[in-house]
Symmetry: C2
Subunit: 698 residues, 2 copies
């Protein structure tokens, strides 16, 4: 943060932009020509909002104003004495002295928003807004700094792509764009009259299936002369089967790839090209799904699901570090008060939302966003606390979806995995409340979390089986051992060393425990394996499972993958032949796993003010990569003989590594902390630490 | 209610149509070319709504569907097996057997709404809707029964009016339409290019004041050939000053009077033509203000103010008996949860909203609307109860407006008049709760009301001064005597006979008590005078006060009138020369006073199942009139020698009258109930009771 003059930016009532945008994109989902509206409440923006700015000027100043909506200006509570044009972009003369300018805006189509720029006065967070609830709150913004682009237009970037192959089959034309992509289709010089049909396929089979494809367009063309024709709806596909009535012709067909411009601040390379390819395809998968919000998948839902989004946030932190999309997504998920149901109707998805704030704060150190969200965090937590059963546990009400994973399990009653997520939610609330100086609530949430954690382990820890059991229904324990509660407990660091050892052997490495089939839960499973030191296992799994998708021709990672299925059933899901999403954000877990556990970089205090660097080669010869932080990147290179770390522009790192011989360093003092384990403080910023490892073959 | 097959009607999520419509009309207010958005929260409709109907058919049936919004149909939870056109009006084949049809609709511009009509299945209150809050509730409707007119279009009637005079003054043209009117202006054969300016005036002075007028239009015309031009915004006016650039010409200018088609079911005539004229102008004033909602006034706010609307409901019951506009208005006023402020920000206006339900229920007997409103009545009452001070009284918080009247009074602290309105609000809640079978809340509200009424009289009744004092601030009684609490106590029947007598002499007839200047509060003042038997006084006041406005040329009644002001100041208000509204609903009080106290007709049980007929001649030779009820009209004629009552089609009347001699009746038995006072039960429906009065001169 600097004290320089603030930049003008579009401002609005808190959360309104995100809620409006979310409602408008949520209904773009289609299934075979019909809309699929989401089955949760969609909240929208306030149409009637007032903005105010108190200022003190030595001399009069002309303020240029652009307003999204109908508006009127008041100065010191009355109509402005000086006239102004009643146009969207206008200007008003601010008088010298101390005054208050009010801009009252109405807009029931898009959100009321204001952009103002004068010599010293600009629209920014120093302005206040009200929806006329007798409270003035800080105006919200989201880095939309161009007067010509009000928040109505979400700005994407575009790239024109030609098909890599065009094939003519039985009167149809098959376009292959080489890999999964997203956007509209552009026909140059389209001429004639008739119907044009486009059947989109993430797989070749889907495109060839005609109206059995998940999405298609049937468009009426009536051109008197050849002219450009662009399809009206953005679609996800690799293949398109084109069917055109006889009277139609065109000169060329291309595709406008539409995407959010994102900088790849993170990187990963290693000695295994298959792992590198997995990282690249993961990043592309995540990139396609990172748009207005963090979406689940590109072809089907394109919805904001809290559980999916949470993983995307964690992956995003290791490659794009785009926090605007994270903030937009968290706001959209939460909606407005009153809370009537869990987020996306799913109990676990409410908890992931809370937990996301913990990870957001650790990654960014941005307390101001957390503060803006705090009232809604409190009311959502109230909603949860009011739904606890007599034992203090959360169990599904009839209207709740208790999900956890697409898998065979009985989620009625008190599900242990849910209680663990609830517990971390309470811990997050305790941390946030204390950071914001709300000590009373901080204490309360801390006490609730501590009590809950004790009760979870009293009830669900099974020493004989060596793990957490599934849950309890109507007072009857369900002693089934599944990976979910155990891997959650590992990632949340709720187990002592003895428990970890038991869980490792009896659950995580136990082949008789039910296998996990979704990349979604493989994310936590493999993270848990990393936490118990099984990095080699994780790398092998990556090669087999993610590599398995690549072997089947995947250009992005999938919603679900079962290596045991025959190829012709790989795209089945939800009872339909091509429903499975082949570009699903939760498929991109390797970004996170490789960044956090191979490069070994993670924050230890908010905003990377302290961070850990603990690279691990596993079975690789060398690794190299970059992890973004709020203030520059951290870079790591490691092979058998050399370890190099470039620190970021602020923050203090702590390096941990293993060396069988005696290592040396160019700066600082190595501490031996265990058998072959060394630690080095990294206080120098923007600095390259070079460690020579005397690695002996064991 | 009948068991006949229900008519198809447009249905939607409860309250959504009214909230959407209210938001869209609330921002039509303008002041000299700028918008004046309301200073309260505007709530809008849910954009994402699902409709469902469970049906059982002996044979398949084709259902015609019109949907306002994007939609998809599901049968028994899945996509419909039979195809349907994806157009706004479509049809679907319902299979035989027991099934559930779901229509999922998204509309973020207008409200999601459905119209469906088959041989046996139609869209009506048997359908359920959800906004995805896990609750299915009864679909709402409002007698919009035409498939071609979805709820997006509020349908008005139009009448083409020519100016009664056209005058040319200093390059301008002055149009006079003879009386206050509302709508757009139509220029036939408008030709040329240039600016056209219309300055609207409720008074001649206002139209001639140019940009000092409250409303005006400055329009750009560019016609290549003569063609029709209609002004874009509806305005209220009697006069228009037209200024046109030289290049412009037109063949004829007329006005499209826009109004809600309403039947005058009530009537009033008497031997005094001035009173008859006051009744006529009152009805016209009310009619102009009765549109999408009950508006305060036509020129300036055109807003829905609860205090104003409450009086309009009461007047409406004596002439149009249009309950649809009452229901729309009550829903719009209440808005959505959470409640954050009083209605229109005004404490008394919250109470009038509650009290309106009492009067609505008495007039209509319609418990179903009350039931639909009950959850929001409860949450608004919770809001009030949570704002009571330690003594159990309501006092203004900093963000509250404690209004009562435009008058000199100190409304800080505990204002007695507010407590009386609060008390009747609690009584209304007690009645409604009991009617709906919510006995626990019924008891609670009854107890709260009883306690409050006791406390009010303990604290504010001043036996020495013979009335209720103004209030208390910081523990200090404000012993000032004003009419407000006393006339409220009279109309709410909170005074015993001794108290009534004291209030009559010391307050209501006491010339040293501050005079009331607004027709708004004159409504309650004159009602209170009627309650203490001062009908002659009321008739005199009507001739003087309302007649005084007529003498000044009024064609509709005003927002405020002070006979003492010189003519050139009569249109001043809020510091501006022409701000006063000359067509203000609260000016139409005579409709109510003449119906309730001269014709003497009012319900005594819900829906006029029992009603009172107590006509009073006052100083008039004869009176004659009709009062509408839910089931037909009640008619009364009375002169010195004859009294005739025609009963409605159901309900039992009770006739009371005074006769100094011995009267006779064509049916039933007269009971003498006091000195010259008689009572007659009217059990025959649709029947003319004729009473011969032997009136002797006293």
């Amino acid at each position: 943060m600097s004290n320089q003059q603030s930049k003008a930016t579009w401002i609005w009532y808190p959360d309104d932009y995100e809620l409006w945008l979310h409602a408008s994109v949520s209904v773009k989902r289609q299934f075979r020509g019909y809309i699929c509206p989401p089955f949760w409440r969609l909240d929208t923006a306030y149409s009637n909002v007032s903005f105010r700015k108190t200022f003190e000027l030595e001399k009069p100043e002309r303020l240029t104003l652009s307003v999204q909506g109908m508006f009127v200006l008041h100065m010191d509570g009355s109509m402005t004495p000086t006239p102004y044009e009643r146009t969207p972009v206008t200007s008003v003369l601010l008088p010298a002295g101390k005054h208050e300018l009010t801009v009252k805006v109405y807009n029931d189509r898009m959100i009321p928003a204001v952009y103002a720029e004068g010599e010293t006065i600009v629209s920014d967070g120093s302005w206040e807004v009200t929806c006329y609830d007798a409270k003035w709150v800080k105006a919200a913004s989201s880095n939309l700094n161009d007067i010509a682009y009000p928040p109505a237009d979400f700005r994407f970037a575009y790239q024109s792509l030609e098909p890599v192959s065009v094939t003519h089959i039985e009167g149809a034309t098959l376009l292959d764009f080489g890999r999964e992509t997203f956007g509209c289709v552009r026909f140059e010089g389209m001429a004639g009259k008739g119907k044009l049909r486009l059947y989109y396929g993430e797989s070749l089979g889907e495109a060839m299936a005609g109206e059995e494809a998940e999405t298609f367009d049937e468009l009426e063309i009536a051109h008197d002369r050849p002219q450009l024709f662009v399809t009206p709806v953005t679609r996800a596909f690799r293949y398109i089967q084109l069917q055109a009535d006889e009277g139609l012709s065109w000169e060329a067909v291309t595709h406008d790839y539409e995407y959010l411009p994102l900088e790849r601040r993170g990187s990963f390379r290693c000695s295994d090209e298959r792992i590198n390819q997995i990282w690249d395809v993961s990043v592309y998968t995540l990139h396609l799904n990172t748009r207005e919000f963090m979406y689940d998948g590109m072809k089907r839902d394109r919805w904001v699901w809290s559980g999916d989004a949470y993983q995307s946030f964690l992956m995003n932190n290791y490659v794009f570090f785009d926090q605007d999309v994270t903030k937009r997504t968290l706001i959209a998920l939460r909606g407005k008060d009153p809370v009537q149901l869990h987020l996306n109707t799913i109990m676990d998805y409410t908890f992931y939302w809370f937990i996301a704030y913990y990870d957001y704060f650790m990654a960014t150190g941005d307390l101001s966003f957390v503060e803006a969200s705090y009232p809604k965090m409190l009311s959502l937590m109230d909603f949860c606390l009011n739904r606890r059963n007599g034992e203090g546990f959360m169990e599904g009400h009839p209207e709740d979806w208790v999900f956890i994973d697409w898998a065979d399990m009985d989620n009625r009653g008190e599900v242990a995995a849910e209680q663990l997520l609830f517990c971390r939610s309470l811990e997050t609330m305790a941390i946030v409340a204390k950071e914001l100086g709300d000590l009373e609530n901080g204490e309360r949430f801390h006490r609730l979390a501590t009590e809950l954690r004790t009760r979870i382990f009293e009830l669900f820890w099974d020493e004989d089986q060596g793990g957490l059991i599934h849950g309890r229904l109507d007072g009857q324990l369900n002693k089934r051992i599944l990976k979910y509660p155990n891997m959650f407990a590992l990632r949340l660091d709720y187990l002592n060393d003895d428990q970890k050892q038991l869980v490792r052997e009896n659950v995580m490495l136990n082949a008789s425990v039910q296998k996990i089939k979704t990349p979604y839960m493989r994310f936590y499973e493999l993270e848990a394996m990393c936490e118990i030191g099984e990095l080699d296992y994780v790398l092998r799994e990556m090669r087999d499972y993610w590599g398995g998708m690549l072997d089947l021709g995947a250009t992005t990672f999938w919603e679900e993958y079962d290596p045991a299925l025959p190829i012709e059933e790989q795209y089945h899901m939800y009872g339909d032949k091509y429903r499975k999403s082949l570009c699903h954000a939760w498929g991109a877990a390797p970004i996170y796993l490789l960044g956090k556990y191979t490069l070994g970089i993670q924050p230890q205090a908010p905003g990377f003010s302290r961070y850990l660097v603990e690279p691990k080669l596993g079975d690789l010869d060398w690794i190299e990569g970059t992890v973004p932080t709020p203030d520059g990147e951290i870079k790591v290179f490691m092979n058998q003989t050399r370890l190099s770390v470039v620190t970021n522009r602020s923050g203090i790192g702590l390096l941990r590594f293993t060396s069988t011989g005696r290592p040396s360093v160019n700066e600082g003092e190595l501490r031996l902390i265990g058998h072959g384990r060394y630690e080095l403080e990294l206080p120098n910023t923007d600095y390259r630490y070079e460690i020579m490892l005397c690695q002996e073959n064991e």
